[in-house]
């Protein structure tokens, strides 16, 4: 469904993403891990259309995205759950969800909310609460739910485990797993460490210094040392 070829992202003189190529087939979950500064977030932002690429191509559903805007990509079914959640802090939970559904042409009302929050029971009771007052875990759930509101076919998750306690990471991993298994969502899950990614992804790419330096299948992930070797190459 998503194909990235030789993606390059530069911030002035600094090349954050060198020549990244990867593929995600429909209904698959692919992980992307790597240390700080590896260029994972830049890749995510570039694919989502939020920053410009200097070269390379991104193809979604066989169609080249070219310079399609972020708004256009959301419309096409490609949405980002950004690093650090990036919620609308003074807007209520409900309004955050409504904002997520911005690009939908049909009205977004109560029943849609119910359907949306099927996997997010904790948010049901907090619909009118300002998003900025939620706990870290609840915020991550809301960020996921907000992305779902646009009825995407492909979701990029950038560091969903950031700043969360191990219990919350488990819960988030559960939700992501359910999205994949029950809704058939295709995803690219980016994270710093292997913990969450290993539980949801069928294969994991390792990125360092702007390049993909290795790949592991789910089974191979069981062998920690191989991954570590790749990490610290």
């Amino acid at each position: 469904m998503l194909e990235i070829r030789d993606l390059q992202v530069r911030y002035g003189a600094v090349t954050a993403v060198q020549a990244v190529s990867l593929e995600v087939t429909a209904e698959d979950v692919v992980g992307l891990i790597g240390p700080n500064g590896a260029g994972k977030s830049s890749t995510a932002l570039a694919v989502a259309g939020l920053i410009r690429t200097s070269s390379g191509s991104v193809t979604f559903d066989g169609r080249s995205l070219g310079s399609l805007s972020a708004a256009g990509r959301v419309q096409a079914g490609l949405v980002l759950v950004p690093q650090g959640r990036q919620l609308f802090p003074s807007l209520s939970v409900a309004d955050n969800l409504r904002a997520g559904a911005w690009r939908l042409h049909q009205r977004f009302d109560r029943s849609d909310v119910g359907e949306l929050l099927r996997d997010f029971p904790a948010l049901h009771d907090r619909l009118e609460q300002p998003a900025g007052t939620l706990s870290g875990g609840e915020q991550q759930m809301l960020a996921l739910a907000r992305a779902l509101a646009s009825h995407p076919r492909f979701m990029i998750l950038d560091e969903p485990s950031m700043g969360l306690s191990p219990i919350m990471v488990d819960r988030v991993a559960d939700v992501i797993g359910r999205l994949a298994s029950e809704r058939g969502m295709t995803m690219l899950v980016i994270d710093q460490g292997i913990g969450l990614v290993r539980r949801v992804a069928s294969r994991v790419l390792v990125m360092a210094q702007g390049r993909i330096v290795g790949e592991q299948t789910a089974r191979e992930l069981a062998d920690q040392s191989a991954v570590e070797a790749m990490y610290f190459r």
Binding site: S69, A70, P82, Q86, F88, S90, D95, A99, W102, S150
Partner: protein
């Protein structure tokens, strides 16, 4: 009773302050910018209205509709060509841009039209309504009604419509707005269009009250600013309440002989300072944390 009459008469002026204040609130809530040129742009569009009324001979309400549309267009053009390129600049620069717009529009008004005041028709003709010993002019009622209607319209837009959600989201977290597929420039342009349109209506009201001249918005701007300070930069309701309150307070001060009209403005300033020191976000604004 003289005092009460002053208060009632002042409500007409209050409606104008409220409209300009509303224009300020809209631009602020949609774009995060306070448009100090709001008054001058409104004066300019009111001159255009005068041309339509006097030279082309159109009726009042038709002119109003056309001017609202024209003002909205002016607002969009200002946004696209001036504010949008300067989006990422520091706050000081943005403030100065609106001062530049102030001079530009004041200059335009002075270029194309004679500076001496000219009369401007009212939305309705007819004798004042008398309640007891109080006279209320019909214009004041219409002006007040228009101001309140616009205020309600704005509140509804912000709270219930998709556009309003877009405004609120974009000013809350612009990056997140882009993430969900909102195009911030569209929100900003729409905000400017709405604000300038509102200013256009206020300008037509004021021209009727004071006579149309290039300097008619002189004091109004400050009163409108004070109104939004008191009411909070974020609140349409606060803007209207603030506008009416300011008008009434100014009228009361002016009628008290030991103060007189002269000192009304400086006294207003003192009030503003006190309000700001006690409640930095205004009476209706939301509390924001900050160093003092």
């Amino acid at each position: 009773m003289l005092l009460l009459q002053d208060v009632v008469s002042a409500l007409g002026a209050g409606a104008v302050y409220a409209l300009v204040a509303l224009a300020l609130v809209i631009v602020f809530r949609a774009t995060g910018v306070v448009n100090f040129a709001a008054g001058e742009i409104a004066t300019f569009t009111t001159f255009v209205a005068w041309e339509l009324l006097a030279d082309v001979g159109l009726g009042f309400w038709l002119t109003l509709v056309i001017v609202v549309g024209f003002s909205a267009l002016v607002g969009v053009v200002i946004y696209l060509f001036i504010m949008h390129p300067a989006l990422k600049k520091p706050e000081f620069v943005i403030v100065m841009l609106t001062f530049g717009l102030f001079e530009l529009f004041n200059g335009l008004s002075n270029t194309f039209w004679d500076p001496s005041p000219r009369s401007f028709p009212a939305p309705v003709e007819g004798p004042p309504i008398v309640i007891g010993s109080i006279f209320i002019t019909q214009e004041s009622i219409v002006d007040g009604a228009i101001a309140i209607l616009i205020m309600l319209l704005l509140m509804a837009i912000f709270r219930y419509t998709k556009l309003g959600l877009g405004f609120r989201a974009t000013t809350d977290n612009r990056f997140a707005a882009e993430v969900v597929g909102i195009r911030p420039w569209q929100m900003y342009a729409a905000g400017w269009a709405m604000a300038t349109a509102m200013g256009g209506v206020g300008g037509m009201m004021l021209a009727n009250m004071l006579g149309l001249s290039a300097s008619m918005m002189g004091n109004v701007l400050v009163f409108a600013l004070v109104a939004v300070i008191i009411g909070g930069l974020e609140s349409p309701l606060g803007a209207v309440v603030g506008g009416l309150l300011i008008a009434v307070v100014a009228a009361v001060f002016s009628s008290l002989s030991f103060i007189g009209t002269d000192l009304a403005t400086p006294l207003m300033l003192v009030i503003v300072i006190i309000v700001l020191l006690v409640r930095p976000s205004g009476l209706f604004g939301q509390r924001k944390a900050g160093l003092l």
